[in-house]
Amino acid sequence: MRLFARLFTAIDETNATHEKVAALVAYFRGAPPSDAAWAVHFLIGRRPKRLVGSRKLAAWASVEAGLPEWLFDESYQAVGDLAETITLILPADGVSSELPLSRWVEERLLRLRGEDDDVQREVMLRSWRELDRRERFVWNKLITGSFRVGASQRLVIRALAEVSGVDEGVIAHRLMGDWEPTAEFFQRLLAPDTRDADLSRPYPFFLAHPLEGEPAALGQAGEWIAEWKWDGIRAQFIRRAGKTFLWSRGEELLAGRFPEVEEIGALLPDGTVIDGELLPWSDGKPLPFAQLQRRIGRKNLGRKILEDIPAVLIAYDLLEEGGRDIRSHPLSQRRERLSSLVGTVASAGRLLLSLSLPFTTWEDLGDARRAAREVGAEGLMLKRLSSGYGVGRRRGDWWKWKVDPLTVDAVLIYAQGGSGKRAGLFTDYTFGIWEGNHLVPFAKAYSGLSDEEIRRVDQFIRRNTLEKFGPVRTVKPELVFELHFEGIQPSTRHKSGIAVRFPRMARWRTDKKPEDADTIETVRALLKSVTREEQT
């Protein structure tokens, strides 16, 4: 555990990317492969399901520290992170532990699962007593399953590529999908032989950058294609050796969640991988995203829900054909092949080719973008015809050009503490709009402000708290923010009767007074205009 805790500290104590990578490289070179495998597993954000409830951890740590639970809660409020709060209140440090990471994980952490409280408590207390402060923090982070330490997957991949001499893309590919963090896996991960396509393994997704400004800056319109940008579940459809696998972008295997889409696998040749978007679809157009959520929420998909909310895969791209990785071929070729492939299964109606929108000038495209909401799309995707299918989010060849967001001016009324990097600050806000003389809660948002603005808002909240309800504070209604969001729908679960999608703070309107904020009437009008667009 000592080496891993040292790695953690080294990464945590610098903001320089190359120093983080250097620390990772040194660790991967020196650590036993069985430890390195677990380190990769945790560093890229995989985690065991929560093994011990936070309430229990808090209670045991409080007893060990001789503190009442209310004081633990106050401390947690100030720190904002459970693992760190526990670390900070526990009595004097134990000695440091030589036991390797893999044994800490396999012999202690994983054994916690399913044990009764007494056993779990015993393991936790023994572990805390054996570790020094740094190691305790890392251990608590592993237990609470929130191990994000400022080393992104990208940095881990870069370090692994440096250690192995294998291309970053190959490492990224090997890290996708299902794998067990064992010594053998780590050795395979670094293996120089790169013909190792595991049957089920998807390719890393290629993501588009948001386009700011006008597309004219992209050059000749004729070198690009435009497609609708759909708001569903980005997915990869894999058919290999007679088996079908459907992966979400979150690297989740969607086995059994979309049976009607998976059925198409049988009609496709082996060695086929399609990148696309799962959408709820009926009568030639998408249903609202909320419908898809209803479906995802179900444990069992009955016939009724499959009939009410049928799903399709909109095919964007072809990544593998006849078992050959064709990602480096130009998009124009890949689309051609994709088009004929989709044609062979068209009758099933479950795999649809993403339309290439006709346009000759960038102006034509502006019109199409304005019509996006009417067809239920979020905007446009612009892709260079000569582009390969890359890895991750890169600038240059793929852009998303979203429709202008919907906007509302609302007043800050409640605030709650953040976590992680925003620990100890009030960063999660609820905004209200006017209904007569009252502000009704309308949306929650916690992104969009700069660190400096967050600090200023935080200070305002501390000085203008009206009441405290647990972690939530009601705040003097004074600050006005311009909120942007992507969609708006009627809702019975919200006090305002309205639900918005992806709300964020676009601007702090220091020029506006609370009475200048929007009213429920204006927001209802907005809802109406949007649904009218959707019905036409």
Binding site: S75, A78, T85, L88, R463
Partner: protein, 343 residues
């Protein structure tokens, strides 16, 4: 009637007709120490500890009327006996002891019990009513031994010097900066200072505090070579154009708040050194016990948790609001003040 009452100008002693750390101009002000949330500009007459005269004068306007008394020396104001006792927070910081008709009150101001070569060490004072600060009044705040923190600072500096990086160490201008300078190992390289820090450090030296040699980092363009230097600067200088002259750098901040990881990460600093000029949780409780006070007023910080803890341990306690209410006031106030001073 209590000896002190809270008014909209601060803590007021009616029989003695004076204020302790008022936040508005008054006729007579007794000042615990010169930080901006305790010493406000504009009062007619100030009383403070003798060692603190220089720094107070430097913070107020030069014509302010300041009277200094030795630690422990008793003075009388309208029948109230006042004496000042070392608080160990910064140079000249005091606890204010008031006696009236046999009743003894102590106002702690800010204080710490850890040793600090730049000021007189804290002395516990017995009293009936104790008014204490609670800046770090939660059990998560337990300071590591300061020798350890200084060893960490020096080894960080030594490492940076070895790879040709300037060490930028941020700490409050008054008190923290001088304590840092006193703990640095001058054999590693030169100690450079921001203008505000250099001026305050000169004031410390005039008061007889001996400190390693420092060099004013100047307003000139980029220094030819500062790669083995440590630069002591106020927090508000962090990220400013002023810092660019020092080339590649590693950044650190010395403050009790740095014990919590999120507080450091929010500032996008490389290193946080948990070095505080306030008491931590265990010391706070020990001091309260040592005063023998039957009643404790808690102010300035985590008042709620401290009051509740004391009550649960059968000590009569209440929270007293200060103007600077909130959990991170000291930081905010000192930060705002630093920003105002600019320089």
């Amino acid at each position: 009637m209590p000896l002190l009452t809270l008014t909209d100008r601060g803590l007021y002693c009616e029989p003695g007709d004076f204020y302790v750390d008022p936040w508005e101009p008054v006729d007579r002000a007794v000042i615990t120490h010169s930080h901006g949330d305790h010493a406000t500009w504009g009062s007619r007459a100030y009383l403070t500890s003798e060692p603190g005269i220089g720094v107070l004068q430097a913070r107020l306007d030069p014509t302010a009327k300041i009277r200094g008394v030795r630690y422990g020396e008793a003075v009388s104001l309208n029948g109230v006996t006042i004496s000042l006792h070392p608080a160990g927070h910064i140079l000249g910081s005091s606890q204010v002891r008031l006696v009236h008709r046999g009743e003894v009150w102590v106002v702690s101001g800010d204080y710490k019990t850890d040793p600090d070569p730049t000021c007189t060490p804290f002395e516990p004072v017995r009293c009936h009513t104790f008014i204490t600060e609670s800046t770090f009044g939660l059990p998560i705040y337990r300071w590591p031994p300061q020798a350890e923190v200084f060893a960490e600072i020096n080894s960080w500096w030594r490492f940076n010097a070895s790879v040709g990086k300037t060490s930028m160490l941020y700490g409050y201008t008054l008190g923290k900066a001088q304590r840092l300078i006193a703990g640095l190992d001058p054999s590693i390289g030169p100690i450079l200072t921001h203008g505000a820090v250099e001026r305050m450090t000169a004031t410390y030296r005039q008061a007889g505090i001996s400190l390693p040699t420092t060099h004013y980092a100047g307003t000139a363009e980029r220094r030819a070579d500062s790669s083995d230097a440590i630069v002591i600067a106020p927090p508000h200088a962090s990220g400013s154009t002023w810092t660019r002259r020092f080339g590649t750098q590693s950044t650190g901040f010395a403050s009790g708040w740095m014990l919590v990881r999120g507080a450091r990460r929010r500032r996008a600093l490389d290193r946080g050194f948990p070095l505080s000029d306030h008491v931590d949780w265990p010391s706070l409780l020990q001091v309260i016990e040592a005063t023998g006070a039957a009643e404790v007023w808690v102010t300035h910080g985590f008042t709620g948790p401290v009051v509740r803890w004391l009550k649960e341990h059968r000590v009569a306690a209440r929270a007293v609001q200060t103007r600077f209410e909130g959990e991170r006031d000291d930081e905010i106030v000192e930060g705002i003040e630093e920003a105002k001073l600019g320089s």
